[in-house]
Symmetry: D3
Subunit: 135 residues, 6 copies
């Protein structure tokens, strides 16, 4: 078993807040991230796939294919978008780094061979990041 990883990136706007909380409570919990007109990030995404090396190709997965899957199903959906307004998965789900990571993992899990293990790391900034492997 060996793990191969591919790095991707997308730039999105978001805001952290709950409609059922008043502004003071949102500010207390979410700080500047609750500001009303959104802010944004350059998200970096590392997708890691674990499996056996195919002896014919020397690949666990062809990184060209993995890169295309990420482009088509993650970047197309999230890049240059407002996560709160434009992405249906975040209707009723606060777009914290944790929740974005779970959404991305669920999307990719559907598209990648079930024999392969899947883990992602999502960097919101260079200083804040999350890691999710579905369990």
């Amino acid at each position: 078993m060996i793990t191969v990883s591919r790095k991707a990136h997308f730039n999105s706007a978001h805001r952290l807040y709950r409609e059922d909380w008043d502004d003071a409570q949102n500010l207390k919990v979410f700080g500047k991230c609750s500001y009303p007109n959104y802010h944004g990030h350059n998200y970096n995404l590392v997708v890691s796939v674990t499996g056996e090396i195919n002896p014919e190709t020397g690949f666990v997965i062809n990184l060209k294919d993995l890169s295309d899957i990420i482009k088509q199903h993650v970047e197309e959906k999230l890049d240059h978008k407002n996560l709160n307004l434009d992405v249906p998965e975040f209707k009723g789900l606060i777009p914290t780094a944790e929740n974005i990571a779970v959404v991305i993992w669920n999307i990719l899990r559907e598209k990648i061979d079930k024999k392969l293990l899947l883990k992602i790391v999502l960097y919101e900034t260079e200083r804040n990041f999350v890691e999710y492997s579905g369990a």
Copy 2:
């Protein structure tokens, strides 16, 4: 003459578009950056100040002071904000990296001793950045 630099960062949302153009023209020129609900970036800012070393302190400028100026006048103004909606300087000015750099340079130029030369580099992403020194 020696140059000292200090790195800072802020996270903002923005959108590139002209109200006097239709959507097709905005999309043609600004691409995904014209999407209606904003996207965002982790901006990295490097502020460089050139002058003589003060022999008493060994400093061109005390970086603690420079850092405070950047925090108070740039980060407070731009961090976790929507540049189009929240920042008066961008009323009628498209918040491209070039224009953001000029706005920041003009703000800092007012606050830093005129005997010191000022240059900034603004990274919109790791791949796109601009440099401005006022001339």
Copy 3:
């Protein structure tokens, strides 16, 4: 279960040597790190916390709180200090990256909810780093 990480940093001086060894033996084992007048590093610290996402906030832990804990209990203690002379934990303990990591982990473990798993990575330089999760 998902893991969230926060990066911090501190700058310290240290020296690796044993008082019960002579200079030649210290130099043989610790090399330049045993030089008598100390040297130093920009330490980068990544603190990773694993738990369930709180559905109310979308957070495993509020990174603002985690950041404050690191600042108050790690950075205040180690930043701009001489690890050998100023930090009681290193009386009788050689401040190798391994031992610094264990000291930091023990400090943080006391301050972070026991339901959350804790791992740290400590970078002494870009080329040398250690990882510790308490077991």
Copy 4:
């Protein structure tokens, strides 16, 4: 148990192709990596060793020793070489990142105390990397 890591690097040429496939099949699977006259990479290698801290030295392993092992047995063998033509381990083995990682791990496993666990991460580019720990 604690993990210490050391980063190294080497620059090599390689080509991905199978002699028993025609050019079209090689191009389909390996893309530009199958071009006939080789291309190359700045490989970055992180070697991670896990064990107990030796209380006498504060080290899991002396990183000077680990660095020397990597230099002598990995860098000497691969640096400024053509992996396909110059390195016997790749006769009959396609030098994908996966296979290079396995080759390096097997070399290092022979040279590092069996009581210590061994993992490596090999970066082919900043965007593509593999991780192998022997199982």
Copy 5:
């Protein structure tokens, strides 16, 4: 006048040697870079263009256009190629970082509006890089 920069990358093989020198002389001057079967690098390229901001778009140059020019005229030509064997510009020209930079600059100078100043930085590794602006 303001400067905008765009980062690109390509992976190539090369070898530094002179046919009119014997192996010993090549090894003395070029070291490991003269090894016969080539080695390679992940080259990073920063292309910087200086001019006035177009008030209609807020751009010095549309970075999408600049990125396309780099892709079509530099990456297509050099990426996954052997610089000595595949790139006509290096017939009779040693592909040192200096010479590669001059070749790239000359290519780009033809394709970018003469009213704009052009500078490039070419990173052969993280530790070695060259800067050229045509004069």
Copy 6:
């Protein structure tokens, strides 16, 4: 004219203070950097040399030679040292990043061919750096 650069690094301890000031004044000007028992940094140094390409070698300067000069005259002198106590150049000179840069530049200027221009950038941290070219 083209510029080639080489990156190096060294790890040192230092303290910023003036003996003719009391502790309160030192703390006011130098902050934590005045703490009595020293702290330290991983300094990164970029040495840039500008000149014409030698048509015989394709080099402005052989980077192997430049690297050896840096190693012998800068790293040997500063690495794993206490700048205040171990380095004669800082007797009576506060080891700010500015002053360290001037000291390094003066050392290198003596060792590098006078036909070549010399510039250095010294990173004290990722966030603070200075640039000096002798004028």
